[in-house]
Amino acid sequence: MSTPAQEFLRSAAIKSADLEHRRTIRAGIDHYEAAVDRAGARFLDWEAARQRLHEIKWEAVNHLDRYLLEFEMRVKERGGHVYWAETAEDARQYIADLAAQRGVRTVVKSKSMVTEEIDLTHTLEKKGVTVFETDLGELIVQLRNEPPYHLMTPAMHLTRAEIAKLFGEKFGGVESDDPQHLVAVARRALRKAFFSAEMGVTGANFLVADTGMIALTTNEGNGRLGSSLPRIHVAVAGIEKVIPRMEDLALIWPTLARSAVGQSIACYNTLIGGPRTASEPDGPEEFHLVLLDNGRSELLADSEQRDVLHCIRCGACLNVCPVFRKVGGHSYGTVYGGPIGSVLMPHLGGLSKYQHLSFASSLCGACTKACPVKIDLHHHLLHNRRNAVQSTERPASERLAFRLWSWAMMGERRFALLGSAARVLLRGVQALGLARTPLDPMRPWTEVHAAPAIPKKSFRALWREQHGAS
């Protein structure tokens, strides 16, 4: 059994060299970036929008206690149930028990990363419940029996042809790889599921405190069907999803749509207030909201990284990340991939298990620049690295190397002497034709680079020649 770090290295090496994967992702990202630019042009001042959104989320996250209680009170007033789940286990147990008590045989799910976090689908399936993913991308990866590739675009890694082949095998009746046709094939299968399901499970993009409603955004309308047709609607949300006021959505919705997929606004934005009332002809009979903590309270207590709770799961940081573009979403081996995942997973799953992800970054900062709520993502990777060095096992050789490095840098004479010695050695290795062989001390650099020209003299030596000793 290999560790997550070893698995990451193995998978990242394979994917980084996979040119077809690189092409597929580049095509998807090009399409995304063009759309983001178009949608961005509709903002008078994008930076001001980011700043305002940051402030809204800051207010919510720094007053979570107040806003969550306000939200809970209003949901209950309308006859909804609120369950506070401290762990992923609590959350899936509550939903599994509910399904068992109500005799649920079929569940329709709309896209929700938090249900991936609590591994809901497998839990329900083990109890004999049939679970249908109803978001097209989620359906595709479910049929392939793999986790979502990307937290916003789960089937980003697949081409139309691959999807047509998959649907042909699973559903039949596939005549072309035209997207409209493929959607029609999926719809035929899913409509039956919508009408037979006793329970609909959704996430919640936002929990609106002042009205006690959940805000649900989809582009396919599946969230609306799943939350209104079945008898029971269960929504699962992390505690950080609360926002103070309904009017905040006026800015949040277009910002989310732009950052997520480059739209001006998503096709379906729904506010759901609870179960159907006596005067309403339709809607679910029961509404349950599962509020998930699962490590978030500890993150809230971390004043340095608290802003990670601002995340609205738009996926923009993944799209712009040059590492993500190379290693792909599955290499991370985590529910949340890309920069936000590398920052968040040590908090949700333990630093020692996930610290390697914080090192697998060139710290380029593209994620931080793209983040619509201004999370200081790449600096948090630095914080995780520091925490890893302080609290978990880093290799003894690395610790020793940096202790020696620190010593060498504390004197200009030793620095110059060691530098000269290293250059003499490297020039010797190159002169003997040993560069890029196992005897080259510059490996692993020279394994993937042509050997650099090593100068005879350092800057300080040249300077001394020209100016004398200072």
Partner: protein, 283 residues
């Protein structure tokens, strides 16, 4: 320890003996050269070239020899405890400098953006912030402080500019290097696709994850080639060393050159003597 302090102090108190230079009737500041450790050891020509450019536009320059490294390798690897004394040393070495100019956006970022966090709670913090406010990346200094766009350079080649991440996203330098390049005689700036995408160097990242780093470098090299440029330039030798290693592996005709080395080139051959030998060496 005490003796070491004295030694550093003695070195840093020695000012450049150059005659005072006048600029528009005003005495110019003396610039302290901040030469990153890898430039010192692996790309010395870049430092020499930057000094030449600064002198040409009328500044006196000095090289505080007590400098070693800014501490970034350890800081970025999580070894803040090991980075701290090195950063403190840097602050002591440069505390009397009027202006500190560096041929690297990354090392400038370390001092300006990260020292306040690294040295928080230490007695040297106030001095560190003061030093941080006086450190500039080379192009930034030329455009924003010296207010020069034309440094009298000549480089008749087609050049593409790679936006080094720290210069772009930490120091917010986008137009400054391009502005300087546009004023170089004979030089044609051509933009490459995805010029803002990281080249994949990332310090220890390149040795910890060589397969990811080199894949990123490969994408960058393909984009350099697509631009049709003869040279790719940037503010950072580290990015360029990485890109150069991959370009040459690909047998590409494109070459790397630091922006300071372009700015140092003039139409007068005698002035370029030392540069051309260095350029040959890096080829």
């Amino acid at each position: 320890m005490e003796q070491r302090r004295k030694r550093i102090g003695a070195v840093e108190n020695l000012k450049e003996t150059c005659p005072e230079t006048m600029h528009n009737g005003q005495p110019m500041q003396t610039i302290a050269l901040f030469i990153p450790c890898f430039v010192d050891q692996l790309n010395p020509a870049v430092g020499i070239d930057m000094a030449r450019v600064l002198r040409r536009i009328g500044y006196a320059v000095r090289f505080p020899e007590a400098q070693t490294c800014c501490g970034q390798p350890a800081f970025n690897s999580g070894y803040w405890h090991e980075a701290r004394p090195v950063a403190e040393r840097f602050v002591r070495v440069f505390r009397d400098a009027d202006a500190i100019v560096c041929p690297s956006g990354s090392c400038t970022t370390m001092v300006r953006n990260f020292y306040p966090e690294l040295l928080a709670g230490t007695p040297i913090l106030a001095e560190a912030k003061s030093v941080a406010a006086r450190v500039y990346e080379c192009c930034e200094f030329l455009i924003k402080i010296a207010k020069v766009t034309d440094v009298g350079a000549s480089f008749p080649h087609r050049v593409t500019y790679h936006d080094a991440c720290h210069a772009l996203r930490e120091l917010h330098l986008k137009q400054e290097p391009r502005e300087l390049l546009r004023h170089v005689r004979g030089l044609e700036v051509v933009e490459m696709p995805y010029c803002e995408e990281c080249c994949g160097f990332g310090g220890t990242f390149a040795t910890k994850f060589p397969m990811i780093s080199s894949a990123m470098g490969e994408t960058k090299s393909i984009n350099v080639e697509a631009s049709g440029a003869e040279y790719v330039t940037s503010t950072d030798s580290s990015c360029l060393m990485h890109i150069d290693g991959i370009l040459r592996l690909r047998k590409s005709s494109a070459r790397t050159i630091h922006v300071a080395s372009i700015l140092a080139q003039t139409a007068l051959p005698s002035e370029n003597a030392s540069i051309s030998t260095v350029a040959e060496r890096t080829r």
